[in-house]
Every structure is written in C-alpha cells, then in structure tokens.
Symmetry: D2
Subunit: 146 residues, 4 copies
C-alpha cells in the first residue's frame, strides 16, 4: 500500500495503522477511533463494568487513558513520530456505567518540533467530563513509510 | 465484622474492602494491593500484552492508573472518604511486556481536610518509571462503618 | 457608589476595584488591566530590565504571574469571590526586554462553583509565549457589595 | 578566576555567578541565595508590601517564582546549562506580609540529560506553603568556563 500524500488521507491512514496494533486502547478498554484528521482525532469509549473502580464509577485513570490515546492519534497524524513530553488533566464530572465518553483532540499551537494539544472528554449529554492538555515533541521517524 | 480502631489494622481493613470491589484495578489491569498503611499504599502491576499500546510499550495511561489507584488507597487509609482534587505526572522511562511495576504512595503533607501524596512507580530493576503527585480532599463519610 | 447589575458593567467595576489594590501586579511588575468582562480578562505587561533573570530573558515566574493575575480577574468577574484550586502552565517561547506580553483569559467550563479557565500569553508579534489553565472554586462573599 | 573542580565548590561558584546577574530574583523580588550544592539550592524571600495582591496576601505567582528560581539554581549546580521542561505547583497555605519564605530544592532523579527536582516552600513556622516539582533538561554549554 502506498502512503497517501493528501493530508486528510494521510492522517486517516496513520490513524488506522496505529489503532490496529493498539491493544491497550482497542481491546483492553474498548475504545473506537472515530476520526483522525491533520492535528485532530476523535475517540469513543462506552463505560462498562470493566471500567469501574471501588466507588462504582469509571476509574479516573481510564478517562486519562482515553484522552492520552486521542492526543497520541492527533499528534502523530502528520506521519512524524511524536511523543508526549508532558500533560495535565482536570476532572470535572464522574462517568458511570452506561455513559459513552467521546474525546476530541485538536492542536492549539505547533511550532518547530513542539506542539500543544487540547483534548476535551464529553459524555453523551455533551457535558464536559475532563479537560486534558498535552505537550508534544516530534522525534525521528515516520509512522508509515514516507 | 467490627471496624478496627488500631490505625495499622484500620488502614489494612479499609484497603481490603476497597480493593475487593475495584474491578478496574484488580480485574481489568491485573494490579495487586501489596500494602495499605496509614497514609501509604503499595500496589503492583505486571506488564502483559493487554497493557501495550501501538508502540508495543505499556500505555502511559495505565501507568497513570496504577499511580492513581495507589494514591486512592493511601489517602483513604484513615477511613475518611477522600477524593483527588488534582494531580500531575512525569513519565521518566517506558515499561515493556514482562516488566513488573510497583507503585509506592506516601503522604507528604496533611493539613485539615487536604493532603499532598507522592507516588513513585518503579520497575523490577528499581528504576523510576514515573512520579505522580496528588492533592487530596476529604469529603463526608467513612469507607467502613465507624 | 452602587454596584452595577448589568453583567458587563459589573465585571468592569469588579476588575477596577481589584486592580486598584493589587500592588504585586500593578506596581511591582507593571501590568495594566486592559479589560475585564464576564468570564474574561486581558492584561498586559511590557518586559523591562526588572523582569530579567540571569539568562537575560523574562523570568518564567513572571510570565506565570501575569497569567495567574489574568485568571484571577476573569474568574472573579461575576462578583463572587473565587480562588484558584489548581493550575498548569506550558512555556513555549522566551520573552526578552522590549517585548510586550498580553494575556487573555476566558472561561471554558463553568459548572456549579467550579470552572476551568484558559489563559494564553502572546507577545507583540502574536506568537504564543505560554498557555496556562486554571481551575477555579467559588467561595463565600462578593468582591463589591451586592 | 579558575572554575573549581570540587563539586561543592563548583556548585557554590555557579550559584553565585548566576545570582549576581539575576535581577528578577534578587532586585525585583528581594530573594537571597542561601546555599547552592550539587543538585540542591536554598533561597529565601521575606514577604513585603511589594509582594501583595488585591487580597493583601502574597501573589501566588511570586511563590511560584521563588520555587522556580530555586529549581534553576539546583539543576544548574553541576555547571551544565539546564532548563525547565515542565513543572507543577500545589499551593497549600497563603503567605502574609512579614512572613519569611524559604524554598529548598533537591534533585530526586537524574537520568541522562533529564532530572526531576522537588522544591518545598516553607514559612518561618516551618509550615509548608507550596510544593513545586520541576522536570529539567540539560542543553549545550556550561555556566562557568569548564
């Protein structure tokens, strides 16, 4: 398969290639990759029994993981291998079994090899569950052969 | 069963009660609760295929989740329901399949209803994988009947 | 003087009252309050010799202070006393003597007594110097008599 | 003047050289450098009128600045130019005019070019006012000629 050159097609192809081998996000936590665009990504995770902690709400670590995965897809969407160099999260609302969380990532600033991405996690009522901010650093290499 | 009054026995009983119903930590991610002491906790997580992301390393979100769980056990160990009001994490080293991560939480400051807890995550070579700092806020209620 | 009831006039009056007694922002660091609107604020700080650290660039702590002040004006603009309960900052670009920094704060989420505010600090070339995110908590009392 | 080779003497000489030209810390905010050791530093700042915000307490940004300066002295103490790549702060207690704040920095982890430093800010009653954690990255160059 040839690596696409069109930015939208490239982002989509990179996203699919990364997601196919992402056991943690796909198999363990049950996320789906809804979209991967240049500098952006959308992922979804329905909350089930497996996500619940001792208070019978979704473990905050899994909300973090959803946001962190979405961040990774967004910042690798240009087909340059990019890693997180820092992040912060604010939790605003708990999530319960039956909720469906959607995380939306968007690049805010890209300057040289560094970027800032904001990820908002919302539930099915469009209420904000968490806000995550990630700082990215591009390293050597490409996700798909360039 | 009577709730213990001795602080060490109380912390251990609270930890066991919380862990028994913590599906996310115990069943989904395979953590064990090694110890729960007044203001402290130790948890362990062997890294398996289920923890790996697309780069075939442990998903950073699961390292966060391990630290966050250990924080929760430590700050609830006094049998006062306590929640996180903020946290930060620094990732220092990746973890691979076959690694065994141990998170150790210890209260640094407790003042009124608030506390600061430091959680260090190390691998089986005693190398620091991540450092997490959590701010806790005590709310109403007890974990075990008081 | 009567406290205004119109939200825009109220925000402006609260901002002016707070700024008048803010020695740190006004006198020590030389900030000006450009605007205070419902949920928003704009402050400016020209970088002079007094702001420089040993590397002859603006001390990162003063960029933090500019963002933190702007956050405070924005989250108190509804005339309910509101304090920071957490914050994070990412530094993207240094500032030099002669630069003029402008910080713009805007509420992102307000829910009950809590809010999330984003503050962007830009230089005179509209380049992003820092991004600050603050979590606010409303406490008892008003800034101006209500 | 020859650059010392003994680590303690080197740290002290680097600290003095950096502090001599640090207008922001020394002149604007009135800090003193109490000690600079390999991987550590202690700085002090008496709180005066100039530090107060509109609530007549020390501006949180200045507590951040004190911690950030102390971090910078600690991580440059090996005479390798080192910059902050991220930081977080938790505020625990306000500081008033007349208080004397002391910030103590100590390296927690150093691995390759990266390090984690913890900075604790205490008042004259030895109460913790803030806890700051900084991540450092060593870049090219030395502070004093090597």
């Amino acid at each position: 398969m040839t690596t696409p050159t069109d930015p939208d097609a490239l982002a989509q192809a990179v996203g699919q290639a990364m997601f196919a081998v992402d056991t943690a996000s796909k198999d363990t936590l049950g996320m789906t990759l809804v979209a991967c665009t240049p500098g952006g990504a959308v992922m979804r995770m329905p909350i089930k029994q497996l996500h619940l902690n001792g208070h019978q709400i979704c473990h905050g670590g899994f909300i973090f993981t959803l946001a962190d995965s979405t961040f990774a897809f967004a910042c690798n969407s240009f087909n340059q291998v990019t890693v997180a160099s820092g992040c912060s999260i604010e939790f605003l609302k708990p999530a319960k079994a039956g909720d469906v969380l959607t995380a939306t990532a968007q690049a805010q600033v890209r300057s040289g090899r560094h970027g800032i991405y904001d990820i908002v996690v919302r539930n099915q009522h469009d209420e904000v569950v968490a806000m995550f901010r990630g700082k990215s650093a591009q390293i050597q290499g490409t996700v798909l052969p360039s």
